[in-house]
Amino acid sequence: MSIFTRKRRRRLWILLAVALAFSACMFFILCTLRDSIVFYRTPSELVGNPQLNIPHKSIRVGALVAHGSLHSLPDGRISFQLDDGAHHITVRYRGLLPSLFAEGRGAVVEGRFHQDHIFYATTVLAKHDANYRAPK
């Protein structure tokens, strides 16, 4: 009886409430996190493992833009290939390309594969050179 003094009981309740609030917050944050994680892949990983192409799930792909592959399609989209030396994928995108985007340079695209094995990008990011000065 004497273990549960009024002060201790109050502390216990506070501790329980804090623990409950903390776990509720963690649960909420982790649920949100699960929905917004995008996996980062290279073309070789994607070509080798078709099971990585989960339909309707956004992924990011990073590689070099292949030389001579950048062209416009009649419907206004832009098409190019991402090549990591071993394999390549074809990417289509509708929108303005970022300032540093060019053939032979690194790029990161976010989007998803469709049935025709073409990657439809929603975002294209150009990887800038590791140096501050302009690339040669």
Partner: protein, 580 residues
């Protein structure tokens, strides 16, 4: 010269008496300033015997950008950073005499940075191969380059003084009131400059096409926001700890963490470990030195923090203080969420979508904002009832207009609620700083809400002579012409609207670096803006044109600058009171 500075900072760290430490600090600051002026001069006159200068300047480049090259390169920015930390130390030595330990910690930071600079990242390395010709990154040839990075440096380095003062307070067991008095002006100064730095960066990212708008939750932006949030939490807990002495463990932890988090963020984005769209000096190998410096500071901070004694609790918390504490815990949780999002890509091959930060932080940040008027008006909550009802009416208005965007009522409610509740401060001149800052916050919330709910964008493919309609306006693409600028070739399109507004978006090609940049054109009407950016299609010279309408977007920077002004006002008024 750098070695001599290093020598002085070592003296400043270990010297026994106050007079020696103080003189070493002042001398070292002067010497660092001299060194930096020398580097700037080398950039301006293009003295190509230095490797750094030869690689980062081009003969055709305008002088302003050469000057910025001194700040923007990896080695140059590190020297500037060190100079500022030394400068803050010198200012502190003049303003608050006889605080040897604070200056020692400050000098220790300078000496660590200098030893790092002298060993692996010397800005004055002579050029080995004289055929190299470099140039400055044309993407950064922008007037914003002249104020955004310096402001951020000023803010971040100001936090170093907060770190040093807190270390000294913990080691020497200062009474908490003395710590608050010492730290307050420097914290406010650093916070105001950090706010301006973040706001100007947001403005630059907004009008530069391809950087994701005013806030894209990019790693660079997040690592600037994280110390800002910590500073905000720390500042708001100062009155509580001053009066009651409670939360000393948490508050002193914040005092140490601000600078450590800022430096850690610098390391993360500069080491290239995180992929960011923003360009700056990145150096994979040498940056590990920064991590080493950070480890030393964390060790020092941890030692000081573990030594801390419990401050006596003088008074129990009153209502206002409990509410402030709760709100600050909410902001601290937002900080933790941002850290989680930034750190996860380091351990797994994933990236975190921007929506994560919005969805995860929003409940916590919104709760903190909701509590703000309650904390200001506590304990007389009855004054708030009419404001709450009015804010609720404003928030429900869009539902009558059949606009069902979920964030609109929330944002409108918060902004009206905060602005009305803080306006009551206008009768108390002592509180004007707080009022201005919080009204700025309300305006900022309104800008963000308007952008999230009413922004419009379209992508149009067109040729000269074409017409299109966007947001109720008719646009005509009148002509396309080639021009040449100072160090670039430009392709300029002219697009006119019915009410004779002319847009001239450009594509600039820089022959010296073989790069093309997109210069968007914007038209401002009151607080809203319309922006047009364009790019050429490879095949038939038709243009692809990206057009956005940003309603009340200027509120974002108006509010941000208002917040910084409020913080500065609070600092200046308190210092003024102190001297009279």
């Amino acid at each position: 010269m750098l070695l001599f500075c290093f020598f002085l900072s070592c003296i400043g760290t270990i010297a026994p008496s106050w007079r020696v430490v103080c003189r070493a600090t002042l001398m070292q600051a002067l010497l660092l300033a001299g060194t930096f002026v020398w580097l700037v001069d080398a950039f301006l006159t293009r003295r190509c015997t230095l490797e750094l200068v030869a690689l980062n300047t081009h003969p055709d480049e305008p002088a302003l950008y050469r000057l910025m090259g001194a700040l923007g390169t990896y080695e140059g920015s590190l020297l500037f950073f060190t100079l500022l930390i030394g400068g803050y130390g010198a200012l502190y030595a003049i303003r608050s005499p006889k605080e040897t330990l604070t200056l020692r910690v400050q000098n220790l930071i300078v000496s660590l940075l200098l030893s790092f600079m002298a060993s692996v990242s010397n800005p004055f390395r002579p050029l080995a191969n004289s055929t190299l010709v470099g140039s400055f990154n044309p993407l950064l040839e922008d007037s914003a380059m002249s104020f955004h990075p310096p402001l951020l440096y000023f803010g971040t380095t100001g936090l170093s003084l907060v770190f040093s003062i807190t270390c000294a307070a913990l080691f020497e067991h200062w009474p908490v009131q003395r710590w608050v008095e010492r730290i307050r002006p420097w914290l406010l100064l650093a916070w105001a400059l950090l706010t301006l730095g973040v706001v100007s960066g947001s403005w630059w990212a907004y009008y530069q096409f391809g950087w994701g708008g005013y806030w894209a939750w990019d790693p660079t932006e997040n690592t600037a926001l994280a110390p800002w949030l910590l500073t905000c939490v720390l500042f708001h807990l100062l009155p509580t700890i001053m009066r009651t002495g409670r939360f000393w463990a948490f508050v002193s932890f914040l005092g140490l963490a601000c600078f450590v988090v800022a430096l850690l963020g610098t390391f993360l984005v500069r080491s290239g470990l995180l992929i960011s769209v923003h360009a700056f000096g990145v150096n994979q190998e040498r940056t590990w030195g920064l991590l080493l410096i950070n480890a030393v500071l964390i060790l020092l901070g941890a030692l000081a923090w573990l030594k801390h004694c419990n401050q006596p609790h003088i008074h129990p918390l009153v209502k206002r203080e409990s509410i402030v504490f709760l709100a600050m815990i909410m902001l601290f949780v937002s900080f933790a969420i941002i850290c989680l999002g930034v750190l996860i890509p380091l351990v797994a091959p994933v990236s975190i979508q921007a929506s994560f930060y919005v969805r995860a932080c929003l409940p916590f940040a919104a709760t903190a904002l909701f509590l703000l008027p309650l904390a200001i008006r506590a304990p007389q909550f009855s004054h708030l009832v009419p404001f709450g009802l009015l804010a609720l009416c404003v928030a429900l208005y869009p539902l009558l207009a059949h606009t069902y965007v979920w964030c609109l009522p929330l944002g409108l409610f918060l902004c009206v609620w905060i602005i009305l509740a803080t306006l009551r401060d206008c009768k108390r001149p002592r509180m004007w700083g707080r009022m201005i800052a919080h009204i700025g916050l309300g305006i900022l919330i309104f800008g963000i809400t308007a952008m999230a709910s009413w922004q419009k964008e379209a992508l149009v493919s067109m040729q000269p002579g074409d017409h299109f309609t966007f947001n109720g306006q008719h646009f005509t693409f009148t002509k396309l012409e080639e021009q040449s600028g100072e160090d670039y070739q430009a392709l300029t399109a002219t697009i006119t609207t019915d009410d004779h507004n002319v847009f001239r978006p450009q594509l600039r090609h820089f022959p010296s670096s073989k790069q093309t940049t997109i210069q968007s054109a914007l038209h401002t009407s009151w607080l809203s803006q319309t922006i047009i950016a364009l790019s050429v299609r490879e095949d038939n010279q038709a243009l692809l044109c990206h057009i956005t309408y940003n309603p009340f977007v200027l509120c974002i920077w108006l509010g941000g600058v208002g917040m910084a002004c409020g913080i500065l006002f609070a600092m200046i008024s308190r210092v003024y009171e102190h001297f009279h």
